[in-house]
Each structure stands twice: as C-alpha cells, then as structure tokens.
C-alpha cells in the first residue's frame, strides 16, 4: 500500500547537547534536502539544557525558517535518549519520524533514499547501515574498525537481528511503530538502538536498509573507552538472554 507523496509528513527528531556549532549546519542541510525532494517536514529540536547556548541558536533558526519547520521542545537537563524521543514525538505532526545524530556524522542527503526505500515495500523501519553496500565511515583507524566489525559480528551471531548495523542511529520509523518500540525498550545509550531493532523484529515489524556514510569528526575525543565496551557486552548479553 504505497503512500501518497502529498499526505506524508516527516518529523526529524534532533536530541541535542552542546551542539551550538553543529545545529545550524545540520538544520541547513536538512532544510536543503527536504526542499530538494519536495517532502513535507518539520525539525524537532530537543535540547537538554545545553550550557553552551544551543537553545539560543535554535531560537534564531526558528526565526529564520519558521515555527512550523523548526519546533523547539527543550528540557531542563540531560535525560535519556528514549525519553527525548517520547518527548519529541508528543508534538510531532508527521506520520513518519526520522532519528539521527546532530553532530553532522549523519548526512541528511540520505533521507530521500530512506523515504524511497520505505515506500518500496511499506517498511515499518528503515535503518541506515555503515556495513553494507556503499556504506562506510570516515575518520576511523584500524583499531576502531576492528572493534566495530568484531562487535557487529558478535551481535549477528548471537542475535541474528536481520539488520546489518545494529548500533547505528540514523533511521526512519513510522510514527506509530516508533511509539510502540520506545515503550517496549529498557536499555540506555547505543544498546537502546540495538534493542529497538531487535524488538522491532520480535514484534513482526519490517526493516529495510540503506547504505550511509558516517563522518566521524569527534573520534579524537576518544568515544570508545573500557566503559563503553563493558556496557556493550552487558547490553548484548541482556538482549541475548531476553529476546
């Protein structure tokens, strides 16, 4: 059942924390991508009380692009990603929701591809993958790649999730599907992203994939420490034992 282009609206959820520099850029790229593709959209910025003035920049963007396109839903302090999605979705007027990172590692140019993919077979979820086809990463050294592929291999063996990139967070969901998934997930951080896909499969939702490029500009700040590895392992075992 293909959707009519005229009646679909895409709500982009952007949880932000200290993204003063990147927010205007990601918004500019999003606006351009949607204007070029002609789809109806809105960008919902969920700022968790960033001390660097992200909200102030968001307000300027609201003035430039209009309150119907830039929707601000700030929160007082840094709370979880799951609750950010719930909070953002409460006021989303689209029937589709796109989640992505606000730090420019995900490029809005892939959104039209996500949309076409979704329409191909009326997928409930479309997931961006770094591991298949023309997907890839910029800015990762050998060690990082090894850890990434090793971890992904482990999740494929243990969870057989039916999606090649489980920890990715660049995805398109039908709004009702995202609502259902967020309420069934209990994990935090990127294990949360893994759990979303695993639960989606459990609940019988269909998942399509689109190769994406991930431009990592913050790797220098060492995002992958011992803590991350441990919490990943714990999350994987939790999902292995409960799904």
């Amino acid at each position: 059942m293909a959707s009519k282009k005229g009646s679909d609206k895409y709500s982009v959820l952007l949880p932000t924390y200290n993204e003063r520099d990147n927010l205007p850029l990601i918004v500019w790229l999003l606006v351009r991508a949607f204007q070029q593709s002609g789809h109806d959209f809105e960008i919902i910025v969920i700022d968790d009380g960033s001390p660097d003035g992200t909200l102030e920049v968001a307000q300027q963007l609201e003035n430039i692009y209009g309150k119907d396109k830039i929707v601000l839903r700030p929160r007082a302090k840094k709370l979880g990603l799951g609750t950010a999605y719930i909070h953002g979705m409460k006021h989303a007027t689209g029937n589709f929701v796109i989640i992505m990172d606000a730090d420019l590692s995900h490029h809005p140019k892939f959104i039209p591809e996500f949309i076409s993919k979704q329409q191909e077979r009326d997928y409930d979820v479309v997931s961006g993958t770094r591991y298949r086809g023309s997907g890839g990463v910029y800015g990762w050294d050998l060690k990082r790649k090894l850890i990434s592929r090793g971890a992904n291999y482990l999740t494929q063996i243990l969870l057989r999730p039916g999606a090649s990139d489980l920890t990715g967070s660049f995805r398109l969901y039908k709004k009702a599907v995202l609502e259902k998934l967020v309420e069934s997930c209990v994990s935090k951080g990127y294990v949360f992203q893994m759990e979303m896909i695993v639960r989606a499969r459990q609940l019988g939702f269909t998942i399509g994939e689109v190769p994406i490029t991930f431009v990592d500009r913050v790797y220098g700040e060492s995002k992958l420490g011992g803590n991350e590895v441990i919490s990943f392992a714990k999350g994987l075992l939790y999902l292995f034992a409960t799904t």
Partner: protein
C-alpha cells in the same frame, strides 16, 4: 523462545548426539574409524568456526569503506551553509 534458549537447545542436541554415539549409549554400531571422527568432531567444529570468524572479521575490516569523498563534500557544504546562514541573519558570537 529466547536466543539463549535456542542456543542451549541446539548445543544440547549436538552434544547429546555426540555423547550417545561416542559412549555407546544408543545401539548404533559405529566402526572404530567413525568413532574417531565423531570423537574429535566438536573440537574440529569449534576450531573451524573460530577460523571462519577471524577470516570474516578480517575481510570485513579490510573492505570497510573509507569515505574520503563524503568528508570533503561535508567540509564544502559546511562553508556554504555558514555563508548562507550569515546572509539569513544568523549571529554566532
């Protein structure tokens, strides 16, 4: 059934069959040569799986796409975006 249970079931069945054959718990008359084969089979499978895993991961790391072009394109777009936003009145202190 959870993945854990699936694995336990699968491994249980395999090891159970192996134990039955190797310790003559079922009246299957295996010749000594076959017994030898079955006896080492689990270890052999484990080693093969380990080798396969290493090879697969190695291959995937080696063929992991490096997106130089994406990074360059992004840099150019960032500059274009900054100019356009400044024109539209964005003030970054």
């Amino acid at each position: 059934m959870t993945k854990l249970l699936q694995w336990l079931l699968g491994v249980g069945l395999l090891l159970g069959t192996w134990a039955c054959l190797v310790w003559d718990l079922v009246p299957a008359q295996l010749s000594p040569q076959w017994k030898e084969v079955v006896w080492v089979a689990p270890m052999y499978l484990l080693m093969s799986f380990a080798c396969y895993s290493l090879a697969t991961i190695g291959y995937r790391v080696a063929t992991f796409n490096d997106c130089e072009d994406a990074a360059k394109e992004l840099q150019q777009e960032i500059e274009e975006a900054r100019r356009d936003l400044a024109k539209k009145g964005l003030k970054l202190s």
